[in-house]
Symmetry: C5
Subunit: 337 residues, 5 copies
C-alpha cells in the first residue's frame, strides 16, 4: 500500500517512461511522414475516433471499478480477520474455565492453555499471509508494481518456517509444513485442542460450539482470500480492456492530424504533445486497474498484511498481559506491506 | 477459466474470424458501390450514428457488468462451498464423541463414522458439479466458447456414477442416481446419519443442531448454483444488447463514408479498416458479456469446479490423516476446468 | 420467463408494431412537410438533440439497471425459498424424535406428523405464489407482456382453494381462505403444531427453536416478495424515464432533417428509416426496463414460480419416499411460468 | 408513495410551473436581445456547453442513483419490520408455555400476556412511525412534495399519544412520552416483561434468548430508519448537483443561439422551446433525486408507513384470533402514506 | 457533517477562491497572448479536448462514487454501534439475574453491576471516537475542510483521559491509557466481568454466550471503523483523478480559444468566464470526492460521532432510570460533529 497523498515522480517514472517514449516517437513519426514526406492520406476524421474513445473509456472504467472492488474486498477480509482475532482472544481467555471440570488445574496451567490457543492463532495468520504472497498468479509476468517492492530489502519474503518460529516450537513447524495447506491444518489443530478441552470439562458444550464457530469464521475469511488469489479478474474482461485501449491509442494520432491541420499548417506538430497527453491518460487508467486487481502479490498495491498481522499480534499479546510487545510496522519509502 | 495474462491468438481466432470476415466484406461492398458504382447516396451523416453508438455502449456495458456479477457470484459460491467443506470436516472430526454415549465404540469404529460423513460429502460436491455441467442452458445453441473446451479430451464429462465411484460403494450409487436430484438426496442421507448419531448419544442435541446447520449452508450454496444455472441473464436484456449492437454495426459504414469522403476522394476506402476496428470492438464487447453469463456450461469461461473439488478432496483427506493424496488439477492449454 | 436465446419475431411483434408504425408515419409526415410543402424551418441543428440523447440514455440506463435488480432479487428470493424448503424437510424428518418423549408413537404416526408439516409447507408456497400473482399492481394498466401470457390457456390462474386442494383437506382450506393473508396464517399453523410437538416431548427446546427459526426465514422471504410486489419502481423515477424518452423521440426528426439535408436534397427522406431505428432503440430500451420491473404479474417476464414450486414439491415428496412424483413444469411457447 | 402508473398533470404542475415560466422568460429575453437589440455577441459556441452537459448528466445521475438507494433501503427496512413483527407474533404465541412453570395460569391469563406483548409491539411500530415523521430534516425548507400531502386532511399527523391510545392504556402512555425516545423505551419494556416471564418459568432460557434476539432485530431496524432520517444525502454532493445543473441551464441558451442562427435568421427564436425542453429535462432529473432522498418526511415520496403499520396490525390481530380487524389503508388522490 | 440544505458562500469561499483566481489569471493570460500578442498558434481544436473531458468525467465520477460509499459505510457503522449499544443495555439489564445463583445480592448491588457494564460501554464508544479522530491519515496534509472545523473552539479535541473521566474512575483510566489500543482493552474488561458474573451464577451459560456475542459485534464495528481510517481510498486511484482533472483544466483554454474565435474576434475573451465555469465544475467535483473520502478526520465532512455518542449516552442512561440526562449535541455554524 502506498501511503502518501501524492505519488512522487520516482514512483511514477518506472511505470510510465516506456509508454511516454513510445507515444512521443510514434506521433513524431506520423507527423514527420505527414508534414515532411507529405503523406497527406494519413489524416482521417476525428469523430469516429472519438466514438471509439467513449466506448473504451466505458470499458476501462468498468475494469477499474471491478479491480477496486477486489482490492477493497481483500482489505475488508483482513479487517474481518483482525476483528475475529480479537474476538477469538477474549473468548479463549474467558470461556475456558474449571467451573464444571472434575480436573483441577493451576492458574498457570490454564494460562498456558490460553497462550497455546492464541499463539497458534498468531501462527495461523502468519502462515496465511506467507502462503498468499508466496506464489505469483502469473508465473512469467513481471511489472514495475513488483519491481518497486523487490528493490527494498526489508520486503523480501521469509520462508514460512522462519516466520512461524516466533510462535510455534520447531518440531511442530516441521510436521506442519509437510501438509498441503499449513494454514488449514493449523485450524484443524485448534479444533482438536478445543475437543480435548471439552472432553476434560474445561469447556461446556455451549461454549465449545461457540468457539468452533470462530474457527468456521476463520475458514471463511481464509477461503475468501484464496478465492481472490486463485481467481484473477477474468481474462476475457481484462485482456480486451488492454487491447481496446491500445487500439484506440493506435488510431488516435491519425484523427488528431486532421483536427490540427484544420487550424494551421505547422499545427500538425501539436499532434505530438496532445496525442501523448490523451494516450497517457487512457494508458494510465488501464494500468491503474491492472496493477490493483491482485492484492496479494508482493507488489506496491498489496493489502498491507504484514502490518495488519503485527497489529493483531500486539493486541493479542497485550490481552495475554505480556509487556515486551513488538513495534508497529512502519512504511519504507512510503510503502507499507 | 482461462489462466494466462494474455489471451493468445489461437484462442481468439475461433471467436472472431467469422465476424471480421463479415465486417471486411460488408464495408468493402459498400465502398465499392459508393466509389465504383458511384452510389453517392449511400453516405449519411455520422453524428446520428454516434448517438446510437453511445446508447449501445451504455447498454452493452450494463450487460457486461451483469454477466461479470453472475460469474463472480458463481465463483464466490464455490469459494463458500470450499470454506463450508473444511468447516464440515473439523466439526465431524471433533463433535462426534463417545463422552455422553451409553455405547462403547472403538476408535476405528468412530473413525469410520467420520470417514463416511466426509466421503459422502466429497460425493456430494462431485454430484453437484456433474449435475451443473450436464445439461446445457440453451439446447440448440453452440459457440466457440464450448468448442475450445470440447476439443480437449481430458475435459470430457464423465457420467455421474463413474465420478462417484471414488467415494461411495456401488450399491449406494445405484439407488442414488434414481432420485430426481442426487445431490439433494445425498444431503438428506447426511441428515439421516446425524439423527442416528444423536439417537445413539454420539452427538449432543447442541452439536447435532450445529452440524445440521452446516447442511442448511450446503443447501443454500447448492440452491444458489442452481439459481444461476436455471435463470440465465434475462432474455429481454441480453437479446436486445445483441440486436442493438448489430443495428449499430449495420448503419456504421454509411456514416463513416461521409466522414472519410470529406478528407479526400480515395479516402472512402479507409472506411474498410476503420469500420472493421470499430465493429470488432463493439462486437467483442458483446461477445465477452455473452460468453461469461453462464458459468456452469462446460465452456472456456466456466468456474473451475473440477479444480476446486480436487482441492477440497486434498484438504479433507489430509484432515483424515490419509497420505495418498491426489494431485492438484492442472490447466490444459491454459484452461482450468 | 422467456426461455430461448433469441426472442422470435412473433414475441417481438406485439410489443413494437404500434410504435414502429407511429415512428414511420411521424417522420414521413415531417419529411413530406419539409420536402414537398417546403417548410424548411422544420430543420433544427442536431447537436442539442444529441445532448438530450445522452442524458436520456443515462436515465433509461439507470431505470433498466434498477428493474433488473428487482427481477434478480425476486429470483434470488425464490431461490432462497427453495433452499429453505429443502432444509425444512430434512429438519422435520430428523429433528422430530420420540427419544425424550413420554408418549410412544408408532413409526407411521411419526411419519404422518412429518408429512403434515411438509404438505402444509407445500400448501404455503402455493398460497404465496397464487397471492402474488392474483392482484395486478396497476389496476387499469395492460400491456403486451401480459397479453402474450394470457393467450395461453395453461397459464390461466386457478383459484387459491383449487390449487391448495392437492395438499390440504377441504375443511382446512375453507377456514384458511377467510383469513386476510392465507400464506401468513399457514405459517402460524406450522408454529402451533411445533408447539404441540414440543409440549408432547417430540422436540427438544433446542430443536424447537431451530425449526421456528426456519419459519422466521420463510416470513422473511415472503415479506421480501410482498415488498417487491407492493412497492413498484418509484413513479417519480419510472414515469420521467418514459417522458424523457418520448420527448427525445419527439424532437429527434427535426434534428435529423438538418443533417440529412446537408448531404443532398432527397437525402432528407433518409430521415424516415434513420429516425425509426434510433427511436426504436430508445423506445425498446425503455420498454425492456418497464416490463421487467414487476416480476410477479402473470406476465412474460415473471419469475417462473409455478416451475419452482413444482421442483420443490418433487424434492420434498422424494424425501418423504413417495414415488408417484409429478413431472417438472415445461415451457409453453418458450414461456416458463 | 404515488400509486398510479402515470403521474397526472395536477401533480406535476406544482413542481414545474415556476421553473418552466422562468425558462421561457429567460430564453425569450435572450432571443429578444439577440434578434431585436442585435446583441450578436450573446451567441457562443455550443460544443463547450455540451461538455458541461455531459459532466452534469453524470453527476445528477449519481445523485439520483443514491437517492433511489436511500428510498429503496427505507422500504426494505419497513419490509423487515413487517417480517420481524409476524415472527415476533408466532414466537410470543408459541414460546410462552406453562410446561416448566411452577405457577399455574389459566388459558385466559396466558392469552392476556401474549396480547400485552403483541399490542405493545403495535404501539412500538406506531411510535416509530410518528417519531420519524414528526420533525423535518430541514427546518425552514418547504417544497411542493410536502404541499401536495399537506393539502389532504387525512394525512395530517396526529400527536403520538392519540395514536398510541388504540394499543396502550392511558397511564402508560403518559409516562412513556416523557422519555427522550418513546420507541426505544417500549422495547425496553418488552425486554423487562420477557425477564419476568423467564423468572416465572414461562419461558425457558433458550426461548428467552431467542425472543430477546427479536428485540435486537427491532432495534437494528429502528436504528436504520433513524440513520436515514438523521443523515441526509451529504450536502457536499447534493448541493453541487443543484449548482451544476443551474450553471448548465444558465449558459445553455447562449450556446443554442449559435446553433439556431446557423440554420436561418428567425430560427433563433426556436431557442425558446428547445431551451425550455432541455432545461426542463435536466431540472426535472435534479428534482426527482432531490425529492426522493428523504423517505420519512411526510411528503409525496414517503415510504407508506401508515399503510404498512395497518397491515401489520391486521396480520397480528388476526393471529390473536380477533375478528373486528380494521380495514387496509387506501390511497387518497393516488397517494398512499 | 454540514447540516443545512444550501451550503452558504462563507463555507464555499475557502474551498474555491484560490482555484477560481488561478483559473481567471491563467485564461486571461492566454487570451492576452492570443489577442494582443497575436500568438494565434495557441488555438487548438476543441474536439480532442472534449474527449479528455468525457474520460475525466468518468474517472472523477468513479472516485466520487467510491468516496460516497466510504462515507455512507462509516455512517452505517456508527448506526450499528447505536443499535448494538441499545441491545447491550437491555441485555445487561434483563439477563443478569440471581435466579440460579447461590449468592444473594441486594437489588442495589445488582443495579451497580449493570451500571458498571453500561458505563464502561459509554467509556468504550468515547475511546473509540477519540482514537479515530486523534491521528490524521495524512501527516502533512491540510485543507480547508479541516480549517473550517478547527476555527471553532468547541470542536477542539479533548485528550482521551479527560473525556473518559465522566464514565470511569481515575485509577482505571490511568492504567487503561497505557495499553496500545484502549478501546480494544475496554472490551477485554467487559468480557472479564461477564466471566465473573457467569462464575458467580448470575449469568447462565446461554446468556453468557449471548452477551459475549455482543462484544464480538462491537469488535466488528470497531474494526470496520479502523479499516476505513487506516486504508484510505487507494492512492493509485485518487491521485490520478487529481492529475487527470488538472491536465484537462490545463489544455481546456486552448481548445476554447478556437471555438470562441470562430464566432467573432473579441469573442476570444469569453474564454475567460467560460473556462472558469467549466474548470470550476470539474475541480469542484474532484474536491467533493477528495474531502469526503476520510470520514473520521475532524473535518467538515466527518460522521457526527460526538452527537451519536451523546445520543447513545442519553438512551442508555434513560434505561438506567437516571434523570439528569445531558442535552443533545447541537450544530455550531451549521456543522455537527
Amino acid at each position: 500500500m502506498f501511503t502518501t497523498k501524492r505519488v512522487p515522480f520516482t514512483i511514477l517514472f518506472p511505470f510510465t517512461w516506456r509508454a511516454v517514449l513510445l507515444f512521443l516517437s510514434y506521433s513524431f513519426l506520423i507527423c514527420f511522414l505527414y508534414d515532411e514526406m507529405d503523406w497527406k492520406f494519413l489524416a482521417i476524421p476525428f469523430v469516429p475516433v472519438a466514438t471509439i474513445g467513449t466506448a473504451v473509456a466505458f470499458y476501462v472504467g468498468f475494469k477499474n471499478n471491478s479491480s477496486y472492488d477486489r482490492l477493497w474486498e481483500a482489505r475488508r477480509i483482513w479487517g474481518s480477520i483482525t476483528n475475529a482475532s480479537r474476538s477469538w482472544a477474549i473468548m479463549v481467555l474467558d470461556y475456558i474455565s474449571t467451573q464444571h471440570s472434575a480436573h483441577t488445574l493451576t492458574d498457570s496451567e490454564l494460562q498456558q492453555i490460553r497462550k497455546d490457543l492464541i499463539y497458534r492463532h498468531l501462527a495461523y495468520i502468519t502462515a496465511l499471509r506467507v502462503q498468499l504472497r508466496q506464489k505469483p498468479v502469473w508465473e512469467l509476468h513481471h511489472n514495475p508494481a513488483h519491481e518497486v517492492v523487490e528493490r527494498i530489502e526489508a520486503f523480501r519474503q521469509c520462508s514460512l518456517d522462519k516466520e512461524l518460529s516466533r510462535f510455534l516450537p520447531l518440531n511442530e513447524i516441521e510436521s506442519l509444513i509437510r501438509h498441503p495447506n499449513p494454514a488449514t491444518f493449523l485450524m484443524r489443530q485448534q479444533s482438536a485442542q478445543l475437543r480435548d478441552l471439552r472432553e476434560n470439562g474445561l469447556l461446556s458444550d455451549f461454549h465449545h460450539v461457540d468457539l468452533e464457530r470462530m474457527l468456521v469464521e476463520f475458514y471463511n475469511q481464509q477461503g475468501a482470500c484464496e478465492r481472490i488469489k486463485s481467481f484473477p479478474f477474468p481474462r476475457q474482461y481484462a485482456f480486451f480492456s488492454y487491447v481496446f485501449t491500445w487500439l484506440f491509442i493506435f488510431v488516435l494520432p491519425y484523427g488528431l492530424l486532421t483536427e490540427m491541420a484544420k487550424v494551421g499548417n505547422w499545427h500538425v506538430w501539436l499532434t505530438v504533445p496532445f496525442f501523448t497527453i490523451i494516450a497517457w491518460i487512457f494508458n494510465t487508467m488501464e494500468i491503474v486497474g491492472d496493477t490493483s486487481e491482485n492484492p496479494f502479490e508482493n507488489s506496491i498495491n498489496d493489502v498491507p498484511m504484514t502490518a495488519i498481522c503485527r497489529n493483531i499480534e500486539i493486541d493479542l499479546r497485550d490481552m495475554l498481559a505480556e509487556t515486551d510487545l513488538p513495534k508497529r510496522v512502519q512504511a519504507i519509502n512510503n510503502i507499507l506491506m
